[in-house]
């Protein structure tokens, strides 16, 4: 009997400060590749922590094809993340996974893709972008709409510059700022910049509350149907394997049936 609760101890290869509250961790990878050469499916999550402090779920942001390391952006939010923020390159931490379903990458192929995310919701989307870039010729027009409260809170800025060579990137911030020339808020005006075939397009989302705004003001008017909008959900997580009940959401378990759901699946769920 395999003990699925037993985490692997891995070395931290590098840590980079991304914003006042977010650090990027590059961890040694000890997980095998699947038959497609991927360590995980973009959108899947890992439970990261340390015995004595706890575990929390994080979506990987590195390329799923990268076998040497896994990367995560971790925001200081509670006990576990406070501890993780105290760690440096060379220290170790514990990780288990990957868990959940991930984005339906095969279904998304040969279609236009709109990716919408905000703040620290970028990791699973980032890994999806890395996947798309590897298979660029199998995707139509690809747009990333990424918003944050302030310009400082936009994460992965250097990667975004690299992505701009392969996909369209639209960055927004919530309130006007002196050092910001781009758009403010997920406003309906942004639709004009997005050229997709609405009958052959999919959307992927991950992020906090304002995302619903983006959904109403951008994705719906673009004409993408609810069943083709894939949302990466967040819930309290403990076991990661469908036992403990903390992450349930109506009839679904975010850890097993999710974290990626179609919008019509979650729209009518009672919680």
């Amino acid at each position: 009997m395999r003990n699925l609760y037993l985490p692997k101890i891995v070395k931290i290869k590098a840590v980079e400060e991304q914003s006042p509250t977010v650090k990027l961790f590059r961890l040694e990878n000890k997980f095998p590749k699947d038959k497609n050469g991927m360590v995980f499916i973009p959108g899947q999550f890992f439970l990261i922590g340390e015995m004595g402090y706890g575990e929390a779920p994080f979506g990987a942001l590195s390329s799923p094809y990268e076998k040497k390391y896994l990367e995560f952006a971790i925001r200081k939010a509670g006990n576990v993340t406070n501890y993780l923020h105290s760690l440096q390159a060379g220290d170790t931490l514990e990780i288990r996974g990957p868990y959940g379903n991930g984005f339906p990458i095969d279904f998304m192929k040969e279609k236009d893709v709109v990716l919408v995310t905000g703040g620290c919701g970028i990791p699973p989307i980032a890994s999806l972008i890395e996947y798309i870039i590897v298979h660029r010729e199998h995707f139509g027009n690809v747009y990333l709409l990424y918003g944050a409260k302030t310009p400082d809170e936009l994460l992965l800025k250097d990667r975004i510059e690299r992505w701009k060579k392969s996909i369209n990137v639209i960055l927004t911030i919530d309130k006007p700022a002196f050092n910001w020339q781009g758009p403010v808020g997920f406003v309906s005006d942004l639709i004009k910049e997005i050229k997709i075939n609405e009958l052959d397009a999919v959307a992927a989302m991950c992020g906090p509350g304002p995302m619903m705004d983006a959904l109403e003001k951008i994705l719906k008017p673009l004409g993408i149907s609810d069943r083709r909008i894939f949302v990466n959900m967040e819930r309290k997580m403990q076991c990661g394997i469908g036992k403990c009940q903390h992450c349930t959401c109506g009839k679904n378990y975010v850890c097993l049936n999710g974290p990626v759901f179609t919008y019509d699946e979650i729209e009518n769920a009672h919680d």
Binding site: M1, R2, N3, L4, Y5, L6, P7, I9, G49, E50, M51, G52, Y53, G54, E55, A56, A77, G78, N79, V80, T81, T92, E94, E234, R235, K236, Q238, C239, I241, G242, K243, C244, Q245, H246, T248, G250, K251, L256, H270, D271
Partner: protein, 312 residues
């Protein structure tokens, strides 16, 4: 048929104690789940950057499970096994021999490994799961008798009163319960119950089929770290709260409804059965005297009234 005389049961248990730790659950307040999923259990320990999982316990015998408990155990075994095995549950479960003690009429084993079924004033019929248990019983053959044509007198169970009969009746149609509870989300009864319920979680702790748990990590001053698995209760405030303080089920009403929703809706769609065996512990021990049967009856009756066929 293999039988055991009532007066021999205690001698049999005494004999078992020579080789096993024997737990008699008949007077336990907490349900049998505590032996496989303890209220608090150290599952991992980390010393000098090495993680050690808790070791399996010594073989033990769990004696005296009621008919309800055996059914619940059967369901809990399935839940912990699929889709992937819960390591720490089975580490304990695989070390156990569960012996039920029932009065109900059965035609197969409701759960556990061995069942003593009362068939008349003196004798219990012995049921066992497989050849393995049969072999095991042979080691203790002096306590058992092979009897032909034993007189079977129908037993009137003391544990079954009208409440249980009615509850069991409802549980025969889990599909209807699932539909009714799902339909009832906006029923005023949840507002009323949220005012009555203290949010203490006793119903979930005493339910043989509530198995929610949480991790709790600890660190000692000596530098050891460990992870503890503890019972959780979905009615408690922090059950769906994430770091940073956002609570996905902030209102007690939502949490209380979720308790019913798991038992009768999600549980049914997942396992084909309600996660309730009708044992009555939740209602007997609720400090606010909430009666699960009364709640279900109210919902079912209003649900039926809402159906178009009934209105026409």
């Amino acid at each position: 048929m293999l039988c055991i005389k009532e007066s021999e049961i205690n001698n049999f248990l005494e004999k078992l104690k020579e080789n096993y730790e024997v737990f008699d659950v008949r007077n336990d307040l907490l349900p049998f789940k505590q032996y496989f999923l303890p209220p608090e259990e150290k599952i991992f320990e980390k010393k000098k950057n090495k993680i050690k999982a808790a070791l399996k316990p010594a073989p033990f015998v769990l004696f005296g499970l009621s008919f309800y408990d055996l059914e619940a155990l059967n369901q809990l075994d399935e839940i912990m096994e699929k889709p992937v095995e819960d390591y720490f549950y089975f580490q304990r479960r695989n070390q156990s021999i569960v012996i039920g003690l029932i009065e109900e009429d059965i035609d197969s084993l409701p759960g556990g490994e061995i069942v003593f079924q009362k068939i008349n004033n003196d004798y219990y019929r012995v049921w066992f799961k497989s050849k393995k248990e049969q072999q095991w019983l042979k080691k203790y053959r002096k306590f058992f008798e092979e009897i032909k044509n034993l007189k079977i007198t129908p037993q009137k169970s003391q544990k079954i009163d009208d409440w249980h009969v009615e509850m069991r009746q409802l549980l025969l149609d889990p599909e209807k319960l699932a539909k009714a509870v799902e339909w009832s989300e906006n029923h005023p009864i949840w507002d009323e119950l949220a005012k009555t319920c203290l949010g203490c979680g006793i119903c979930t702790y005493l339910c043989p089929l509530c198995y929610c748990f949480s991790w709790e990590d600890k660190k000692t001053i000596e530098g050891e770290s460990y992870r503890v698995r503890k019972w959780a209760a979905c009615t408690l405030n922090d059950f769906a709260m994430v770091a940073g303080g956002h609570n996905f089920r902030k209102e007690l009403k939502k949490r209380y409804y979720n308790w019913f929703y798991h038992k009768f809706v999600r549980g049914y769609y997942e396992w084909g059965k309600s996660l309730c065996v009708g044992c009555g512990r939740c209602h007997q021990n609720c400090p606010a005297q909430i009666d699960i049967l009364k709640v279900l009856k109210t919902i079912l009756s209003d649900y039926e009234k809402s159906l178009p066929a009934k209105n026409s």
